[in-house]
C-alpha cells in the first residue's frame, strides 16, 4: 500500500521549456492556438511553451527506490511534445522560480495560486555541515539538518475548499494547520525529535504548532508517502498531525514571506498584501521541502523548497456585482518587475474554458500559450513572462484583467469529493458519517481513507460500516489503531473501492467521553474539533473520459481510451467536525447544584435513618450506689430497686 511518487513526477512549475513553436502549431491546431501562432514571429520569445505541470502520482504497493522526476519520460505520450534536451543547468548551485496561476472559476470567483520554488544542490543527509546559504532560507535549512528531516510539508489554511463549486485545487490542504514530516532513518527517537521540531516550527511560522502532541499525532501507514526521492517508506519515520482549530492570519503570512529570496519587495510576492489576501473566501499557504533528483540519472539529490499560496476571491463579496477581475482588484497591486533573483517568473491564466473567448475576455492579450495536463484534464494557459520587458508594455506595469461575458455558474460534479458530518442528537452518543462521491460514469477506483479521531470520542469500531449503493462494501485493507485515553488518537485507514457513479458512506458510532474538569478548553461550549479525514485516490483522468475524437489528434493516440497514465493522484480533505461534549456548567448554578445535591444527600441520609429506625426512650443510667445495692439485692433474691 505505498503511494510513492513515480517516475513521471509532479512538477507544477515549469520544469521544461521547449521552444518548438512550429512543431506544436502543426500538432496542436486548436483554434485558439492557431490564432495566436499566426501572430507570433518574435524570435526572442518562445511562442509556444509546453510544460508538464502534471501532478501525477502512481499509487501502488511497491517501494520507491528510483525516482526520476526530471526525466524526459514525464512527457505524456499523447501530448505532441518531441523529445528534447533539458534546459542547461544554471551555473549556480541554487535556483529560484516563481509562478502565479490564475483560474477563473465557474461560479465567478477567481482562484490564484502562487508557487515559489527554490532548488538547492546540496545534501543534508550526508551529514555534511552546511553554513553558506544564498537563496535557500537559513532558518529552514538549519531546522532540516538539525532534526534530520527528509521531507517536511506544512500548510496553514483558513477556510474550506469548495470542491463542488471550484473543482479540484492544485494543492489540497485541510482547514487549519497540517504538518507531516518524514524523518531520516538515522533518527533514533522519532517522537522526541518530532516534539522538538513542532516547537521550533511553531516559532518560525508564528503558529500554535506547539499544540501538536501525542494526542493528535498519528503515523499513517499508507496515506502519506514520501513525495521526493526516498529509500524507504517505513512509517515509523512518519508523523502526521492536524490542528483544525488553527486560525491563519497575517502573523503567519509575514514569516512565510520572509522565507522568499526577494521577500515581498519584488516579483510576484509584491502582490501578497495581507489586507487583500484575507479578504477572500479561501486562503491557504504551505511550505513543502523534499529531496529531488539533480539530473536524469539521479546520482545526487538536491533539496527543493516549494512555497505555495492559494487564495480564492469571492465574486459577491467584492461588491459591484460585476464579473470582472484584475490583478489590481484582487491584490490592490500591479506587477512591475520579476524578482531579480528568479530564473523564471511567469503568470498563467487558465483559458481552457474559453477557447473562443466567449466566456471571458483577457487583457492585455498575450501570445504565449501553454498546455498542460493538470489533475487529469488538459488545460490551456495564457502565459505572461515577467522576465521579458515586453510583458509590461509601455506603462511599465502589468495588470491582467479578466472580464466575463456570460453569467452562469452551475455546480460542478467533480469526479471525487467527500464530506463528513456528525449524526444524532444528545450528548451521549453520536455517529460520524463520511460520504465519498465517485461521479465517474463508468470507472470504479480505489481510495484510501484516513481518519484520525481524538480519544474523547470513543469509537465503537464494531459499528463501522461501509456501504455503497445500498450494499455492503468490504474494504480491502483496514489499519486501525485504537486510542488510549489522554495518550493518542484513533487512527483508521482503509482502502475502499468506489463503484462508478455512487456514494460510499462510512459510518462509525462513538460515545462522548466526560472529560476531567481541567481538560476542558476555556470555551467548552464551543465544542471540540475533529480534524478532516483525508481521502487519497488515483482518479481516472477526464482526458481518458473524453471520447469525443472530433478534435484532430493523432489516430494512434486515441485508439485505447483508458491508459495507465490517465489516472492521476488527488487528495481530498473533508470538513472538520465540531462536536459538543457533555459539559458541566462552569458557573454559579453549577456550584448551586453541587451544593444542593450535597445537602439533599445528607438530608436524605438522616431522613431515611429516621424512617427506618425505631427509637425508644432509654432508661437513665442508675448511680453507682444503686447498682451495688441492686447486685446485693439480686444475691438476696429480692427484686431490685
Amino acid at each position: 500500500m505505498a503511494a510513492p511518487w513515480c517516475s513521471r513526477c509532479a512538477w507544477l512549475l515549469l520544469v521544461f521549456i521547449y521552444s518548438l513553436y512550429v512543431m506544436v502549431i502543426s500538432e496542436e491546431p486548436t483554434p485558439g492556438n492557431e490564432q495566436h501562432a499566426s501572430v507570433v514571429d518574435n524570435p526572442q520569445t518562445p511562442a509556444e511553451t509546453v510544460k508538464q505541470p502534471t501532478e501525477e502520482r502512481r499509487w501502488e504497493a511497491t517501494q520507491v527506490d528510483e525516482t526520476v522526476p526530471d526525466d524526459a519520460a514525464a512527457i505524456k505520450p499523447d501530448l505532441p511534445v518531441p523529445d528534447s534536451v533539458l534546459t542547461p543547468t544554471p551555473p549556480l548551485k541554487d535556483e529560484f522560480q516563481e509562478e502565479l496561476v490564475v483560474r477563473p472559476l465557474h461560479s465567478g470567483d477567481i482562484y490564484a495560486s502562487f508557487q515559489f520554488r527554490t532548488v538547492w544542490e546540496t545534501d543534508f543527509t550526508r551529514g555534511s555541515k552546511v553554513s553558506h546559504y544564498r537563496l535557500f532560507p537559513k532558518s529552514l535549512g538549519q531546522v532540516i539538518s538539525k532534526f534530520s528531516v527528509r521531507e517536511l510539508h506544512i500548510s496553514f489554511t483558513q477556510g474550506y475548499w469548495r470542491t463542488m463549486q471550484w473543482g479540484q485545487p492544485y494543492l489540497p490542504s485541510p482547514p487549519g494547520a497540517e504538518l507531516w514530516v518524514w524523518f531520516q532513518d538515522t533518527v533514533t527517537d522519532v517522537d522526541a525529535t518530532w516534539k522538538e521540531l513542532t516547537n521550533v516550527l511553531s516559532g518560525i511560522f508564528c503558529a500554535s504548532l506547539n499544540f501538536i502532541d501525542s494526542t493528535n499525532t498519528v503515523q499513517p501507514s499508507a496515506s502519506f508517502k514520501p513525495l521526493g526521492i526516498a529509500n524507504g517508506t517505513d512509517h515509523r519515520f512518519l508523523r502526521y498531525a492536524t490542528l483544525p482549530r488553527e486560525i491563519v492570519c497575517t502573523e503567519n503570512l509575514t514569516p512565510w514571506k520572509k522565507l522568499l529570496p526577494c521577500g515581498s519587495k519584488a516579483g510576484l510576492a509584491v502582490l501578497l498584501k495581507s489586507e487583500k489576501l484575507f479578504h477572500s473566501s479561501f486562503h491557504s499557504q504551505a511550505v513543502h521541502i523534499r529531496p529531488v533528483c539533480q539530473d536524469g540519472p539521479c546520482k545526487t539529490s538536491s533539496l527543493e523548497l516549494r512555497q505555495t499560496l492559494n487564495v480564492v476571491f469571492d465574486l459577491h463579496a467584492s461588491g459591484q456585482g460585476k464579473r470582472e477581475w484584475s490583478l489590481f482588484k484582487m491584490f490592490s497591486r500591479t506587477l512591475t518587475e520579476a524578482c531579480p533573483l528568479a530564473s523564471s517568473s511567469k503568470i498563467y491564466i487558465d483559458v481552457t474554458d474559453n477557447p473562443q473567448e466567449d466566456q471571458f475576455e483577457l487583457s492585455p492579450a498575450t501570445h504565449l500559450l501553454s498546455q498542460a495536463v493538470v489533475l487529469g484534464d488538459r488545460r490551456t494557459f495564457s502565459v505572461y513572462d515577467l522576465t521579458q520587458q515586453v510583458t509590461f508594455g509601455t506603462v511599465r506595469s502589468l495588470n491582467v484583467l479578466i472580464r466575463w461575458k456570460s453569467t452562469e455558474g452551475d455546480m460542478l460534479r467533480p469526479l471525487l469529493h467527500a464530506e463528513r458530518y456528525v449524526a444524532g442528537y444528545g450528548l451521549q452518543t453520536g455517529e460520524i458519517h463520511t460520504l465519498m462521491y465517485n461521479n465517474h460514469p463508468f470507472r470504479s477506483f480505489p481510495v484510501l481513507l484516513l481518519d484520525s479521531v481524538p480519544w474523547y470520542l470513543r469509537l465503537y469500531v464494531h459499528t463501522l460500516t461501509v456501504t455503497s449503493k445500498g450494499k455492503d462494501n468490504k474494504p480491502s485493507y483496514i489499519h486501525y489503531q485504537p486510542s488510549k485515553d489522554r495518550m493518542r488518537p484513533h487512527l483508521l485507514e482503509m482502502l475502499v473501492q468506489l463503484p462508478p457513479h455512487s456514494v460510499t458512506e462510512v459510518t462509525v458510532q462513538f460515545e462522548r467521553a466526560l472529560l476531567k474538569w481541567t481538560e476542558y478548553t476555556p470555551d467548552p461550549n464551543h465544542g471540540f474539533y475533529v480534524g478532516s479525514s483525508v481521502v487519497s485516490a488515483l482518479v481516472p483522468s477526464t482526458v481518458a473520459m473524453n471520447t469525443n475524437i472530433t478534435k484532430e489528434q493523432p489516430l494512434f493516440s486515441t485508439f485505447f481510451p483508458t491508459k495507465e497514465e490517465s489516472s492521476y493522484f488527488i487528495r481530498v480533505y473533508t470538513e472538520p467536525l465540531l462536536v459538543n461534549l457533555p459539559t458541566p456548567d462552569f458557573s454559579m448554578p453549577y456550584n448551586v447544584i453541587c451544593l444542593t445535591c450535597t445537602v439533599v444527600a445528607v438530608g436524605y441520609g438522616s431522613l431515611y435513618n429516621l424512617l427506618t429506625r425505631s427509637f425508644q426512650v432509654e432508661e437513665p443510667n442508675p448511680g453507682l450506689a444503686k447498682r451495688i445495692a441492686n447486685v446485693i439485692r439480686k444475691m438476696r433474691g429480692v427484686p431490685p430497686l
Partner: protein, 615 residues
C-alpha cells in the same frame, strides 16, 4: 434532625402533623397557588438582561436596505406558488442560485397515522429548498438557520421574500464566520421535521426523506420567520417548543434588545407589556401573559417551526409579524434590519448560547421568572402529597386504638395487602396502555363499523376507553378475593400518593407548566379521597378533577386568555380536535404529553378512583 430522633419530640411533632394535617395541606395548596399568582407581580420578577458577553458588548450596525425588493420577490414567489399550486421548487432554486447560494433540495413524504382535519392532510409529500451561504474562510463547522415556511394560501409570502432579500444582502458581506442556511420548508412542521432529521441523520418518527446533499456543520441557532403582510405593527416572538422546551433566554433578550434599538413594537404571546404594574389591570395583564405561556408550554406541542430545533440543542425562536389596527406601522426594511442585527450578533457567538436560563416563564418580554422562583409554587403543592403520605404511614404503623381487633387486622393485612395494591396498579396501567394503543390501532375497524371518519374514530375511541376505565373498581374487585380491608385502601392510597408525587415531580422538572397544571387538579383528589365519603358527590368531584376535564377546562381557559371565548358547542369541538392534535403531535414530532397522560397520569388517577369505590 436531633428534633426527630428524640422520640418524645418526634411523637409530638408527628401528632401535630397528623392532627393538623388537613389544615396544613389546605394552607400549602393555598400558598402554592398564591405563590404562583405572585410570580407575575412585577416587583417579584427579574428584569431580563443579556448574559452572553459575545452578544452584549459588541456593536453591530444594521444596514439592510432592500425591503421593497424583498416584497417584490415575495410577490413573485406568491405568483409562482399559485401557478405551481404548491412549493415553487424550481423558481426557488433558481432564485437562490442567482443570489450566490449553494442550493439543495430535499424531498420527503409522510403518511399520517390518521387524517389531520385541521390542516386537511393525510398523505404528505413535499420538498424543502435550502441555500447555504458559505462563510468566507470558515471551515464549515458552524451554521445559523433562517427559515420561512411555505404556507398554503396567501400566507407567509412576505417572509419568503424577506428571506431571499436577506440572503442576497448577506451574501455580499464578508463578516460571516458561520455558514448561514436559508431554508424554505413545505408543510410547515412536517417539512421542518424532515429537514432536521435528515440534517442529523436520525429517524425518530418514521418519516421518509431523501438525504441532504449539503450541510454547514453544527447549527448554533435558528430563527423562523412568519410574515404575512407588507407592513406590520408589531413583532411577536414565540418560544415554546416541543415538550415544553424553551430556547435559551438570551435569544429572547436579543430579540427584545434589537426591538428596543430599532424601535419596533415587540410582544410575547401577542401581548404588549404595560408599565402600570401597580394597577389591578396591569397585574392581571401580566398574569394573563404568563398564563398563556404556561398553557402553551404545558401543551407540549411546538408553537412554531422553531419548536423542533430544540430537541437538537439548537436555540431557536419564531418571529411573527402582526398587522393589527394600530396607527404606527413598521415596514419590511426595518424587520430586515432587525433580523440582520440578530444574525450578526449570533454570528459573533463564540460558544453556543448557554449563559442564560433555559427554564423560565415570562410575564412580559422585559421580565422573567427563573426556575428558582417558580419551583417553590410547585413544591408547595407537592409537599401536600408527602404530608398525606406521612399521615397514612403513621396510621398504618400505629393502628387506631378504636379498632379493638387491631391485632387481628394486622395479621390478616399482610397477605391481601400486596395483592390488593398490585391488582389495581396493574389493571389501571393496562387501561392506560389500552388508551395509548387502541385509538390508532383500531381506527380502521371503527371506521368500518360506525359512520365516522378516521379522526373522529380515534378521538371517540380515546373517550370511550377513558370512560370505560371508570368501571375499573368493579372489575378490580371481581379479581380480588374477599373484601378490601381498612388497611388495604390505606396502603393503596399511600402507594398512589407517592407515585403521584414522583410522577408530578419528574414532570415539573422537565415541563414545569404541565406539572403544575396537573398538580393543581390532581393533588386535591389525592389528598382527600377516601372510601368513606359520600359516593355520588365525591365521584362527581373526582371526575371533574380528572385529566380529561383538566384538558377541557384548559381549552376554555386558553380561549378566554386569547380573548376568543367560545360557546360550549364550539368548545367541545375544539376539545375533540385538541385531543386528535395531541395524538398527532406524538406520532409526527415525538411529543411526550399524550403518552405521559395515557400511560402514567391517567392510571394514577384511576388508583384514586379505585380508592373511592373501595369495598
Amino acid at each position: 434532625m436531633g428534633l426527630l430522633s428524640d422520640p418524645n419530640r418526634r411523637r409530638a411533632l408527628i401528632s401535630l402533623l397528623t392532627r393538623l394535617n388537613a389544615p396544613i395541606c389546605a394552607l400549602c395548596y393555598f400558598a402554592g397557588v398564591c405563590w404562583f399568582m405572585g410570580l407575575a407581580f412585577e416587583p417579584f420578577t427579574l428584569r431580563t438582561y443579556m448574559s452572553e458577553n459575545a452578544m452584549g458588548s459588541t456593536m453591530v450596525e444594521e444596514r439592510f436596505p432592500s425591503g421593497e425588493r424583498a416584497l417584490a420577490t415575495g410577490k413573485e414567489f406568491a405568483a409562482h406558488k399559485k401557478k405551481v399550486g404548491g412549493m415553487p421548487v424550481d423558481w426557488l432554486v433558481k432564485t437562490m442560485q442567482a443570489r450566490g447560494l449553494e442550493v439543495f433540495t430535499q424531498s420527503f413524504s409522510r403518511t399520517l397515522p390518521f387524517p389531520d382535519e385541521n390542516k386537511e392532510r393525510y398523505m404528505v409529500k413535499g420538498t424543502n429548498v435550502y441555500g447555504i451561504l458559505r462563510a468566507p474562510r470558515a471551515p464549515r463547522t458552524e451554521a445559523l438557520v433562517l427559515s420561512a415556511p411555505c404556507s398554503p394560501g396567501d400566507n407567509n409570502n412576505q417572509a419568503v421574500g424577506l428571506l431571499l432579500g436577506l440572503a442576497h444582502y448577506f451574501r455580499s458581506q464578508v463578516f460571516w464566520a458561520k455558514d448561514i442556511i436559508f431554508l424554505v420548508n413545505e408543510h410547515d412542521l412536517i417539512g421542518m421535521q424532515a429537514w432536521l432529521e435528515s440534517y442529523h441523520h436520525t429517524n425518530t418518527t418514521g418519516m421518509d426523506w431523501s438525504p441532504l446533499q449539503g450541510r454547514g456543520g453544527s447549527i448554533q441557532a435558528a430563527l423562523s420567520l412568519e410574515l404575512s403582510s407588507d407592513v406590520i405593527t408589531s413583532l411577536d416572538i414565540i418560544l415554546e417548543g416541543l415538550n415544553g422546551q424553551l430556547p435559551n433566554l438570551d435569544l429572547a433578550n436579543l430579540f427584545y434588545a434589537f426591538c428596543q434599538k430599532i424601535g419596533v413594537l415587540c410582544t410575547i404571546q401577542g401581548r404588549l407589556q404595560r408599565n402600570d404594574w401597580d394597577s389591578v389591570s396591569g397585574y392581571s395583564h401580566a398574569v394573563q401573559t404568563m398564563m398563556l405561556m404556561v398553557m402553551k408550554q404545558a401543551s407540549g406541542r411546538p408553537w412554531g417551526d422553531h419548536g423542533l430545533f430544540l430537541r437538537y440543542h439548537i436555540e431557536a425562536a419564531t418571529i411573527k409579524g402582526i398587522n393589527s389596527f394600530r396607527q404606527y406601522k413598521t415596514d419590511v426594511t426595518t424587520v430586515g434590519r432587525l433580523l440582520e442585527g440578530m444574525f450578526r450578533k449570533l454570528n459573533n457567538l463564540l460558544e453556543r448560547l448557554h449563559q442564560s436560563y433555559f427554564f423560565y416563564l415570562m410575564p412580559s418580554l422585559s421580565h422573567f421568572v427563573s426556575i428558582g422562583y417558580y419551583m417553590p409554587a410547585f413544591g408547595l403543592l407537592a409537599v401536600i402529597l408527602l404530608l398525606r403520605a406521612l399521615d397514612l404511614w403513621v396510621q398504618l404503623v400505629s393502628p387506631p386504638a378504636i379498632a379493638a381487633d387491631g391485632v387481628g387486622d394486622n395479621a390478616q393485612q399482610s397477605s391481601p395487602g400486596v395483592l390488593s395494591v398490585l391488582t389495581p396498579l396493574v389493571i389501571s396501567h393496562l387501561t392506560g396502555a389500552a388508551l395509548y394503543i387502541l385509538p390508532t390501532r383500531f381506527q380502521e375497524i371503527a371506521v368500518e363499523h360506525f359512520p365516522v371518519s378516521e379522526t373522529e374514530a380515534v378521538v371517540l375511541t380515546v373517550i370511550a376507553v377513558y370512560t370505560a376505565g371508570l368501571a375499573l373498581p368493579h372489575n378490580t374487585h371481581r379479581l380480588l378475593s374477599g373484601e378490601g380491608t381498612e388497611q388495604g385502601w390505606r396502603v393503596l392510597k399511600l402507594v398512589a400518593v407517592l407515585y403521584l408525587a414522583v410522577l408530578l415531580g419528574c414532570t415539573a422538572l422537565i415541563n414545569f407548566s404541565l406539572g403544575f397544571i396537573l398538580a393543581l387538579t390532581l393533588v386535591p383528589v389525592a389528598a382527600f379521597v377516601t372510601p368513606h365519603m359520600p359516593k355520588t358527590l365525591s365521584a362527581v368531584v373526582l371526575v371533574i378533577l380528572s385529566p380529561a376535564f383538566t384538558l377541557l377546562f384548559s381549552v376554555f381557559f386558553f380561549q378566554e386568555l386569547e380573548e376568543m371565548p367560545v360557546s360550549f358547542q364550539d368548545g367541545w369541538l375544539l376539545y375533540l380536535s385538541v385531543i386528535s392534535q395531541g395524538i398527532l403531535d406524538h406520532y409526527l414530532y415525538g411529543s411526550l404529553v399524550y403518552p405521559l397522560i395515557a400511560l402514567m397520569v391517567y392510571p394514577c388517577w384511576l388508583l384514586f378512583w379505585n380508592i373511592l369505590f373501595w369495598k
